[in-house]
């Protein structure tokens, strides 16, 4: 029988297991970890946001957003090339449906299929524009959240949460209506993300996302309603043919 040394201290009981990080936020995570992270945000967004780190290097979530913006730009260029004629016909009928047929006459000569230079320029510029939009939108939403008393973890937490809303860029794989679906998906991810990042109530996160949209962009809402009405009218028109 072995003897216990006189000054033996029993090992401390094991603490709770460390929370599992997102694959993209794990130390030494490579580019390949981007794909399981995207999958998690698509399938289980609430759980994914609860695992989002508030201390990992800020470059990680921002890089995730930029990578998905680049993906969206590539897909948009592909759809633009494949569906150019269909897009033009659709745009023309859409403008006619909302009584803006004259606008088509005005701008049609300027709408030309993009060449190689425009495509490359688009792929370079789109992620940069997305980055500026991310920063500005985060600033406005975070300011609203602070006014509502929900921004306890600071601007960086809001930036992290809204960076992962870049997942909604995947909606562009659906032609024609992908952008609109992506907007709705973005709103949902934004609300879930802000609520999780600041451990705040969902209604505060929802107001932080929606109030600036209502206050500053009534035109966007009216445009979305007009867009929906135009689609409905176009479908009805197509169905009666």
């Amino acid at each position: 029988m072995s003897e216990i040394p006189p000054n033996f201290d029993p090992p401390p009981p094991p603490g709770p297991p460390a929370p599992e990080l997102l694959p993209w936020e794990e130390p030494e995570a490579g580019f390949g970890s981007l794909f399981p992270t995207i999958g998690r945000f698509v399938v289980r967004p609430i759980e994914s946001y609860s695992r989002m780190s508030l201390t990992v290097d800020l470059v990680r979530p921002v890089a995730y957003y930029v990578a998905l913006a680049l993906f969206a730009a590539i897909v948009n260029q592909i759809w633009g090339q494949i569906l150019w004629e269909a897009n033009m016909r659709w745009l023309q009928s859409l403008l006619a449906a909302v009584g803006q047929g004259a606008m088509w006459q005005q701008f049609a000569p300027q709408l030309v299929r993009p060449g190689v230079l425009q495509i490359v320029l688009g792929l370079v510029l789109t992620p940069l524009i997305y980055l500026v939009v991310l920063f500005v939108v985060t600033g406005v939403c975070h300011a609203t959240l602070v006014l509502l008393g929900g921004g306890r973890n600071g601007f960086a937490a809001s930036l992290r949460a809204l960076s992962y809303t870049g997942t909604s860029s995947l909606a562009v794989v659906i032609p024609f209506v992908g952008g609109l679906l992506g907007l709705v998906w973005w709103l949902i991810l934004g609300i879930v993300g802000l609520a999780a990042a600041h451990r705040t109530e969902g209604w505060k996160a929802a107001l932080a996302i929606l109030l600036p949209l209502v206050a500053c962009c009534l035109c966007c809402i009216a445009g979305a309603v007009a867009f929906g009405a135009a689609i409905a009218q176009a479908i009805q028109h197509g169905g009666s043919m």
Partner: protein
């Protein structure tokens, strides 16, 4: 509100802010000539009244042409926001580099500030309506 020393994350945010200002300034000469291609405001077309964001694009175009007075006439709040974004982004990296304190808002709702913000947006909207922007 309290203040604290800047962290590594604050420095990253400051540099990101400055980068966004630099990108905006660099893209301005390309984007602004295309601004006339943007569709007109659907709210304005429906109601005959400007929406709270009306005039923002025209304000940015005038700011880019060094016409501050013209920009303010188009949308004062948007002009102030764009100026704050630009000036803040240019100064932020230097501010945190030299140890400038970072504001930390007090926790809890701020009804006074919320009312002030709502009044600001509404009075700006009133200005746009009164001036027929």
């Amino acid at each position: 509100m309290t203040w604290r020393a800047p962290s590594r994350t604050d420095r990253q945010i400051a540099w990101l802010w400055a980068s966004c200002v630099a990108i905006s300034a660099a893209l301005g000469p390309v984007a602004l000539p295309l601004s006339h291609l943007l569709p007109s405001c659907a709210w304005h077309a429906w109601t005959g009244l400007p929406c709270p964001g009306c005039g923002t694009t025209r304000a940015v175009v005038r700011l880019a042409a060094d016409d501050l007075r013209g920009a303010l006439a188009m949308n004062p709040l948007a002009t102030a926001g764009v100026l704050a974004f630009g000036v803040g982004g240019l100064g932020a990296p230097a501010w945190v580099r030299f140890g400038g304190a970072v504001p930390v808002p007090s926790p809890g709702p701020k009804p006074g500030w919320l009312v002030a913000a709502a009044l600001l947006v509404l009075s700006n909207w009133g200005w746009l309506v009164a001036n027929g922007v």
